[in-house]
């Protein structure tokens, strides 16, 4: 079974490469389907597969850069990227990533990196799970209300942007695509904080940056998605560069994961055409909880069970999304065939 293991020369470990391919594929499927990077499962996944924590972070951040290339290209075609905002945010993002990476190196020197990053991940994933379950509960309650005829349908939400725009610290900048006018320091501060998190956890940071762009800076959602992807791509490339200079990256692992991600991203994206209902969100929440549990088990030294749980959870969610995609595609093809055969039958009957 030696052929199932690949030697990583810099990290000095032998890695189960089908696991790498599966993680890449799963990130592609889940990222394509839910519209988020999914890197939150890569760093813990790589660590559980056997990578030392600093290598898991560096390898994850480089793989994000490759994966976000095509999504950014697609969004820029639709004009959904505010490049002025993106370029200004780069200052904060790059500084933030460097700070995050320096903290990782400092923790590695202290010999504390594994436990610290794992526990930060546990908190981070707990927040994601809470957010997903809260969102699910809100969606179910909203559906019930919409069925209630006495419900007026008025909705309200938190929006800090107008108050934050009143802070007029020069230079003030007008972002044309986003249609906002605010202090340059506001996007820089937001991108710095998300950058620190991205550099420290090896993630794209979109999970935080997207809501921050909408609620704190006041960017319209579609522009926020495009600009965030641009930011993820640049932060990934800078992260790949700085972690390579620090010697904490395994390029071959990045390439293996990218191959899986390229196929998975298409399946995930196509599946969104056929997905109905909110059940899938619930499943996503459970996958996040499973990932969290496997990190805790890894911390407790139960590595084999942790590996099974994380690989099992991401396999289950991938299979579920693939079933949605194949069923939907088959249905669509059947309908197309029926539609094309009906006019032919009518012509035959008229004759």
């Amino acid at each position: 079974m030696d052929w199932l293991y690949m030697h990583m020369p810099i990290a000095g470990v032998d890695i189960f490469w089908p696991g790498l391919l599966l993680i890449g594929y799963a990130v592609g499927v889940i990222g394509g389907f839910f519209g988020m990077g999914g890197a939150w499962m890569v760093t813990p996944g790589l660590n559980i597969l056997g990578f030392p924590m600093a290598f898991a972070i560096g390898t994850d951040i480089a793989h994000i850069a490759g994966k976000s290339m095509i999504s950014t290209m697609r969004h820029s075609k639709f004009g959904n990227v505010d490049y002025r905002l993106g370029l200004i945010m780069l200052v904060g993002t790059m500084a933030g990533i460097e700070v995050g990476a320096q903290v990782v190196m400092w923790l590695e020197r202290l010999g504390e990196i594994g436990p610290v990053v794992r526990w930060v991940y546990v908190v981070f994933l707990a927040l994601i799970a809470l957010m997903v379950f809260y969102d699910y509960g809100k969606a179910v309650a909203g559906r019930k209300k919409s069925q209630d005829p006495s419900h007026t349908g008025a909705t309200g939400g938190i929006n800090w942007a107008p108050s934050l725009h009143k802070i007029r610290i020069p230079p003030m900048v007008h972002f044309r695509v986003a249609g906002i006018y605010c202090s340059m320091w506001l996007p820089i501060l937001v991108s710095f904080i998300t950058g620190v998190l991205a550099g420290f956890l090896g993630i794209g940071g979109g999970l935080l940056r997207m809501p921050a762009l909408v609620y704190f800076i006041g960017v319209p959602t579609h522009v926020a998605v495009g600009t965030d992807l641009f930011e993820v791509m640049i932060s990934g490339l800078y992260g790949a560069f700085t972690y390579s200079l620090k010697g904490r990256i395994e390029l071959v692992a990045v390439f293996v994961m990218l191959c899986g991600a390229a196929v998975g991203a298409q399946i995930g994206t196509v599946a969104t055409k056929y997905a109905k209902g909110y059940g899938i969100r619930l499943m996503f929440g459970f996958a996040v909880v499973a990932c969290m549990v496997s990190i805790i088990l890894k911390q407790m030294g139960v590595t084999t069970t942790a590996t099974f749980i994380i690989l099992g959870a991401i396999t289950a969610i991938c299979v579920y999304i693939m079933i949605i995609m194949f069923r939907g595609a088959a249905q669509e093809l059947r309908e197309k065939r029926c539609a094309s055969s009906q006019p032919a039958d009518r012509v035959g009957a008229e004759r």
Binding site: H7, P9, I10, A11, G12, A62, H63, A65, G66, K67, S68, M69, I70, S71, M73, R74, K77, M105, E108, R109, L110, G236, L237, A240, F241, T242, S244, L245, K246, G247, R248, I249, L251, V252, V254, F255, L258, C259, A261, A262, V263, A265, Q266, T269, V270, T272, K273, Y274, A275, K276, G328
Partner: protein, 99 residues
């Protein structure tokens, strides 16, 4: 006398407390240097490992450029395959938008 005794006790306690700290502080800790083991490698993997051992800056540039090229190429290739199958990802409508 009592005051002298107290002063002596406090200074000894302080010395005891500080000595491990000063020893621990010692020299400034440096980054762990990792060298790639190229003995069991061949082909492209060997090339990358050699690059890492000899020129870290060139290795970092390789990391950025190769990741960009591979990510872009795989994305475009998969887009082309999907278009050939008949699925245009540029103009997709989700099931939720349709309902």
């Amino acid at each position: 006398m009592a005051f002298r005794f107290k002063l002596g006790a406090w200074s000894s306690a302080l010395l005891l407390l500080l000595s491990p700290l000063t020893r621990a502080a010692g020299e400034k800790a440096t980054d762990l240097v990792v060298v790639a083991d190229t003995r069991v490698l061949g082909g492209f993997n060997r090339y990358l490992a050699d690059l890492y051992n000899h020129d870290l800056w060139l290795f970092a540039i390789h990391a950025v450029v190769l990741t960009t090229i591979l990510g872009g190429t795989l994305g475009l290739l998969m887009d082309a395959i999907m278009k050939r199958i008949g699925i245009d990802l540029g103009r997709k409508k989700t099931a939720q938008q349709e309902h």
